[in-house]
Amino acid sequence: MEFIVSFLGIAVITAPAILLTSIALPSLFGIRLQEQSINRLTSSSVLIGFISAILMLIIMLATGSRNVPIDLGDWIVLPATELNESPFHFHLKVVFDRLSVPFVILTFLLCGTIGLFASKYLHREIGYLRFFVAFAIFNLGMIVASVSGTIEMLFFGWELVGLSSAILIAYFHERKSPVTSGFRVWCIYRFADAAFLIAAIAMHHMTGHGEFSALIGQGNWPEGVAQLSSWQAFWIGSLLLFAAAGKSALVPFCGWLPRAMEGPTPSSAIFYGALSVHLGAFLLLRVGPIIDCSLLLAISVILIGAVSAIYGTIVGRVQSDVKTALSFASLTQVGIIVAVIGFAGIAGGMGWSTLAIGLRYFALIHILGHAMLRTLQLLRAPTLLRDYHALDNALGAHIPNEDSRFKKLVGDRMYRFALERGYLDTVIDRWVVQPFVIVASTCNRLEQGWLNLLSGRRRDTQKPVIDSKRKDG
């Protein structure tokens, strides 16, 4: 039995890895894969992964086992020296539990469906292969992140998802705005990932390795208990919350989510309606016991979630194009999910473990339902006119949207706030990007000056140096 379980577990993770290599490598050797072979490779590997995951679920249900770790061993070990008192392990470990299995199944189901969808939708596109390579990277990243048992592995999957996300936003690279949007998303991801990396290092410092089980206790998800002091939990948790906010486009990073709609419809649907946007919430669920340890952290989680949800719903209400409106609708739900996870943390901290567990399950169910529904809505976005026409016909008249009580309550002033998307991009541009650029360009100028001095050249004062970052206004 154990052999079967580990075989299935390894199949789940190798199927997407093989897919990626099999469609990405040939083109490096100048072999151009046909549309049909790309489709076959994608659907067969996703199907294998999907069946393995389902079998795994069945076995787990049948045996009542709630946590199936599969150890892939240490890949790097640095012995303890005087400088770092504990040894460093790069440990690969896959965990199947009640959090990862639903996520894996969701990922395979959606990747399979969207893969099929895209195979027709992108028919005759020049970038067909490029799309499917990025799609395979994404699939691998999602699976690795879902089943990871160590923080390094989660980070690895997390990065793959970010990379494919940026590539697919910039898919139509012959136009300018997809590329700038992709770049912007990439920058925000890197920024948030830095926090993740620091958290990972901090975890290593505290526990000696990156296994979640050591950090959040041996209990099965969602019942773990973390062995951290309140402040340790707060610092690590805050960093992870920051990372999650970047990935899930929570406040203050919301600005990138509508921009991400530059890509082809299927990738927008699966990334920003379903999987990628929920990855931040997944991380918070995974490290739930940490949130239990610190009330302050739990409150921060609730705040960020709730503010994002309210922000999303207000801003979403004025959007007049379908994809942007759906992206803010997505954000609203992700905000709620995150807030619920925060409440679960408070409940856990108070010792009401049943409530905490219930809330976590609730959040998980919300993620699954939301992912499916939003994907369908985004895929059907181009049918909007037909749908509205059908609604008019069913209702017998065109019914305009009435101004809701909510609107009357918040007043017209909020309209501008919403139209300007809450000024969040401006805030980031002005208070983060611009200072950063100023520091960097000052350094650049100093270095240039120093170099000029050394090389005896005169300074070139002809043209003012305009930093590319300031182009965003």
């Binding site: 099929l116 530059e262 309210i310 007049s320 609708a329 709620i336 049918t383 139209l419």
Partner: protein, 1046 residues
């Protein structure tokens, strides 16, 4: 306020008054895209702004104003040249056509003009940017090896001639005053080059070195020659905006900033009810609303907008109107009265999609739910000017640190960034360099040219620029196809005696079928004729002269079902038959409940609490439709159909067609037509198609439309004659009218005797899934049941074959599939969410035949022809019928053809680009991606197989009759005389073809080579994806025709 300073200084005395500005904007609006809301897509000439010009001139202007391509790229034409779709003879013909008498002029020593141009067209002439060119010359083999396509003979001769010249005339001639030395004397660079060669011991050189020398020398000579002759200035010099200059100077694009704001605001303003919250005080108009919203900030705006709120506040409290703002900017900008219009146009064209939509919605408020006040375009321009000005001043002051006003800044920037020449000297030299290699112009000949000779040569080459070359290719491409068409017609009719059958007694056709003139019905009609050679088919614009607003039994609104230029007076309603009304009322309630629920769910899923509940409780259920519709679209659709029984509209309905009270209107009693009006409709249609006698027992009228999923452009696939709606109701109404005995009595008085045993049946053809449904079959008398059954079974076969023929064009459809599997394939396509090409619509349209079917029947036209029935024998001496047919057919068909033309030649510039990132905005149009201008036109997926050529009308008439029609109808003349369409007059009795050119008809000679012959269409098209030539399909005849050469 900032402007008053400038005004107060009295810098410019020029004043523009509001009325003048208004009329200028009115005029400028003609340059904006004329596409209305996407829900009623009407094809029209994309370059309508220049329609009064001739086609070629309009293309040039379009290129200058919109920056869009006028033709396919040369490379594509050259591919067609290789593939045999353009022949050398076509190019010669086109050149002769363009050059006229100047074709045979000699260009000093280089040959006749037509020969030079011909040679140029046969060789790819490359151009590159200056830096790329420098790299190419320096790093590639350009100066070491001749072009691949240079003929060996020419290469050998050129190298040996050059060798002789250097060795004999320069190296070994003592007389340094000879012409060969003289010609180098003025060119120090050349002289130096030759001197260096002379010192390099040329007598020891290997052949490779001589080749290299020849080429390098040629390059230097070309550069020298070009430097002697200044470049001619282009006709259309574009005045740069301050934004363009600032972009050169700072790399900052002001347009991006302004667009981003204006797109958000305009789409909110135009929104037809998608957003939950509508714009506050939207009814106050664009300008006031803008001032209201943007003086109300709750947070930090982008850096460039600092101070904008205060400025707007000032305008608001001064109650400045938008037109005053425009006047101020006009006065300040320093443009003269002549330039003012162009200046405003350039401003509006930056966001032409939105500007055009604003103009469409303000002028055609009847076509939208939320109309906007007239004058909104003025407000739009004012806001645009205000924002650009603010951004410009920001860049000048904050980025550049210049404390000058925009006019001075402009002068300074123009001095810093002079307009780059259209072609650099190197680019011009490279042109000569390439041609010299393929045409064998020796460098030592070129070097001796005088300045005048160089001027003549360069003038000749540069006047045959890329535009001209592509124009000739275009003409050649069109000519090739036109030639094939006319040849096919001539051969096809050579053996036949058109009209002969009249004298002999004609057997009564089994049934007659009247389709739309649509090119997609060509194949359907052909297959019908092949399945049942004893049937007759007709083509008539798909509204069948029934001009009405129509409301279906399960529909909420009256839809206009007639060409877009007509505003209907009559209203027609569909209702459940009396016995089903109770059931329908119940179903209607259920539909309403379901609609209420799905509307609530749809809106709620985007809100906070509604979304929370909805996604948690029902979200997982979305898995089923999501997976099922992607995996098995056709089966899912069938399943949905089966389960919709409780809410389905009633199975039996009837039309409220007859009006009992005057005047016509949408209220009870006023709905419908009077008997006399019905008779008019029927008479008009029957006369148009020439069906005034010899009626068969069954006449089927076929309206058409198309249904597809995930396709914002769905309406563009519908019937053009019904203003982008589905034409089934028109066919149904027509049949009901024609079956009315009172109508028939009236018609008999007017000379059209419909036999009592003739029954009309209306029907609907879905061109996407080739579905076919017939209306009111309960009313068909039992005596006709057998015939009806038989006809339906024939139609069943024909529609499957039609689907099969369509599938040959779909790359994802197997070429070996059978007719039945093809039918399943197209059914799947129309139900597939992931299908970006549900059908190819009018793609490949190229012809429009007006005349009797007899002369085109049995000719494989490959779904490329609009087929309009017309019988000149029943027309009066003033050609009343032909005139009214052409009044509708020419603008409509030309509109379709030209929209396809422009969207194909420049899909980004004229079309709406790739369909995949499209994003429906304000329920009026599509943007590309998250934020862009509105994109009018056709998508890349729609036109990918289209071949851009101007539609060729072949009209059965006489040159005299056509000339008089053209002369007396400016609407037709504009298209015909302006070369927007091609026109051929056909006299089938004498088998004579006359081609229209420059106001005259010219008799054409056609050769009599035979055409390929096939029994059925499928025998000809099977297994082939690309373009197919004409063929004779014999199954469509009662008797097999004898072709001239067989």
């Amino acid at each position: 306020m900032k402007f008053s300073k400038v005004d107060g200084a009295g810098l410019r005395a020029l004043q523009f008054d509001p009325e003048q500005i208004k009329s200028m904007i009115e005029h400028v609006a003609h340059f904006l895209p004329a596409q209305g809301p996407i829900t009623a897509f009407v094809h029209h000439n994309t370059l309508h702004a220049f329609q009064s010009d001739r086609f070629k001139e309009a293309l040039k202007k379009g290129q200058a104003v919109f920056g869009a391509e006028p033709f396919w790229p040369e490379s594509r034409f050259r591919k067609e040249l290789e593939g045999g779709r353009i022949l050398n003879s076509d190019i010669e013909y086109a050149l002769q056509e363009v050059l006229g008498e100047t074709a045979d002029e000699n260009i000093d020593g280089f040959g006749k003009r037509i020969q030079i141009r011909n040679a140029i067209l046969h060789h790819a002439i490359y151009t590159a940017s200056q830096s790329e060119l420098e790299w190419f010359i320096a790093e590639s083999n350009a100066l070491k090896a001749f072009r691949q396509d240079a003929p060996t003979a020419i290469v050998d001769r050129m190298v040996s001639d050059t060798q002789h010249w250097l060795m004999r005339d320069l190296l070994n001639q003592s007389d340094s005053t000879s012409s060969d030395h003289n010609c180098l004397a003025d060119a120090s660079r050349l002289k130096e080059f030759v001197d260096r060669a002379k010192r390099g011991k040329p007598h020891q050189w290997q052949p490779v070195a001589w080749k290299k020398f020849t080429l390098t020398f040629l390059w230097e000579v070309c550069r020298h020659g070009v430097s002697l002759v200044p470049l001619r200035q282009s006709q259309y010099e574009k005045r740069r905006r301050l934004r363009d200059l600032l972009l050169c100077e700072t790399d900052l694009d002001i347009d991006e900033w302004v667009n981003s704001l204006l797109i958000k605001f305009s789409s909110a303003f135009l929104d037809q009810g998608f957003a939950h919250w509508s714009l506050p005080a939207r009814d106050r108009g664009f300008w006031k609303c803008f001032l209201d919203v943007y003086t109300n900030s709750l947070g930090p705006a982008e850096t460039w907008r600092r101070g904008l709120d205060a400025e707007l506040q000032q305008l608001k409290s001064n109650q400045t109107t938008s037109i005053e703002v425009i006047a101020q900017f006009l006065n300040r900008s320093g443009v003269t009265e002549d330039e003012a219009e162009e200046w405003m146009m350039r401003q509006l064209l930056v966001l032409r999609g939105f500007a055009g939509m604003v103009h469409q919605v303000e002028t055609r408020g009847d076509r939208v739910f939320q109309s906007i006040p007239p004058g909104t375009l003025i407000d739009f321009l004012a806001v645009r000017l205000l924002l650009s000005d603010h951004a410009e001043r920001y860049v000048l002051k904050e980025i550049l640190g210049w404390n000058v006003d925009p006019v001075d800044a402009r002068k300074r920037l123009e001095a810093l960034h002079p307009t780059p020449p259209q072609l650099t000297d190197d680019q011009r030299a490279f042109l000569v360099f390439q041609l010299a290699q393929v045409l064998g112009w020796n460098p030592q000949v070129l070097v001796k040219l005088s300045v005048d000779e160089w001027s003549a040569l360069l003038g000749e080459l540069e006047s045959f620029d890329e535009f001209e070359r592509r124009h000739v290719f275009q003409l050649a491409f069109e000519h090739h196809y036109a030639n094939q068409t006319l040849h096919a017609l001539s051969v096809h009719n050579a053996g036949k005696r058109i009209g002969e059958s009249e004298k002999t007694s004609k057997t009564r056709p089994k049934f007659q079928i009247v389709c739309c003139i649509d090119d997609r019905e060509e194949s359907f009609r052909r297959h019908l004729e092949e399945v049942e050679p004893r049937c007759e088919t007709f083509g008539m614009a798909g509204f069948f002269a029934v001009v009405m607003y129509f409301k279906g039994v399960a529909e909420a609104h009256f839809l206009p079902l007639c060409p877009v230029i007509i505003k209907p007076q009559h209203f027609v309603r569909e209702e459940a038959v009396y016995s089903l009304q109770k059931q329908e009322n119940l179903n209607r309630k259920r539909r309403e409940q379901l609609g209420r629920f799905s509307r609530g769910f749809h809106l709620g899923s985007r809100t906070l609490t509604g979304g929370w509940l909805g996604t948690t409780l029902l979200g997982a259920l979305a898995t089923i439709p999501l997976v099922a519709r992607v995996l098995a679209p056709r089966a899912t659709a069938k399943l949905r159909e089966r389960f919709s029984g409780l809410i389905r509209p009633p199975a039996a309905t009837e039309l409220q067609l007859e009006r009992v009270a005057d005047p016509p209107g949408s209220e009870n009693g006023h709905v419908g037509f009077s008997v006399n009006e019905m008779a008019n409709c029927v008479q008009r249609t029957l006369e148009d198609i020439g069906l005034t006698k010899d009626f068969s027992r069954l006449v089927v009228i076929v309206g058409h439309g198309s249904s597809s999923l995930n396709n914002p452009h769905e309406s563009a696939y519908n019937c053009g004659a019904c203003a982008g709606a589905r034409g089934g109701p028109n066919a149904r109404a027509f049949a009901q009218m024609a079956n009315d005995m009172r109508v028939r009595d009236l018609l008999r008085e007017r000379g059209i005797a419909i036999p009592t045993d003739t029954c009309f049946v209306g029907s609907y053809h879905n061109t996407c899934d080739d579905g076919f449904s017939l209306f009111d079959l309960d009313r068909v008398p039992s005596s006709h049941r057998d015939l009806l059954e038989e006809t339906i079974s024939i139609i069943e076969v024909a529609r499957a074959r039609n689907a099969h023929e369509r599938c040959r064009r779909f790359q994802s459809a197997d070429l070996t599939m059978t007719a039945d599997s093809a039918l399943r394939h197209v059914e799947g396509r129309s139900q597939d969410l992931s299908q970006a090409r549900p059908e190819y619509n009018h793609a490949t349209n190229a012809l429009c035949f007006v005349g009797r079917r007899e002369w085109s029947r049995g000719l494989f036209l490959d779904r490329r022809a609009f087929l309009t029935s017309y019988d000149p024998r029943i027309d009066d001496e003033n050609n009343k019928i032909l005139t009214r047919i052409l009044q509708a057919a020419v603008p409509v068909c030309a509109g379709i053809s030209l929209e396809y033309y422009f969207s194909t030649v420049d899909n980004e510039g004229y079309g709406c680009g790739n369909k995949l990132p499209h994003n429906i905005t304000s329920m009026l149009g599509v943007m590309t991606g998250a934020e862009s201008d509105l994109r009018p036109g056709l998508s890349a997926q729609m036109v990918e197989i289209h071949e851009p050529m101007r539609l060729m009308f072949v009209i059965e008439s006489t040159p005299k009759a056509l000339t008089s029609i053209i002369e007396s109808n400016p609407g037709i003349k504009e298209f015909v005389a302006g070369d927007w369409v091609q026109l051929v007059c056909f006299e089938p009795e004498k088998n004579l073809l006359h081609r229209y050119a420059d106001g005259k008809f010219k008799l054409l000679n056609t050769d009599s080579e035979s055409l390929p012959i096939a029994r059925y269409s499928a025998d000809w098209y099977r297994g082939w994806r690309d373009h197919l030539a004409f063929a004779q399909v014999t199954a469509g005849y009662e008797t097999i025709p004898t072709s001239s050469n067989t």
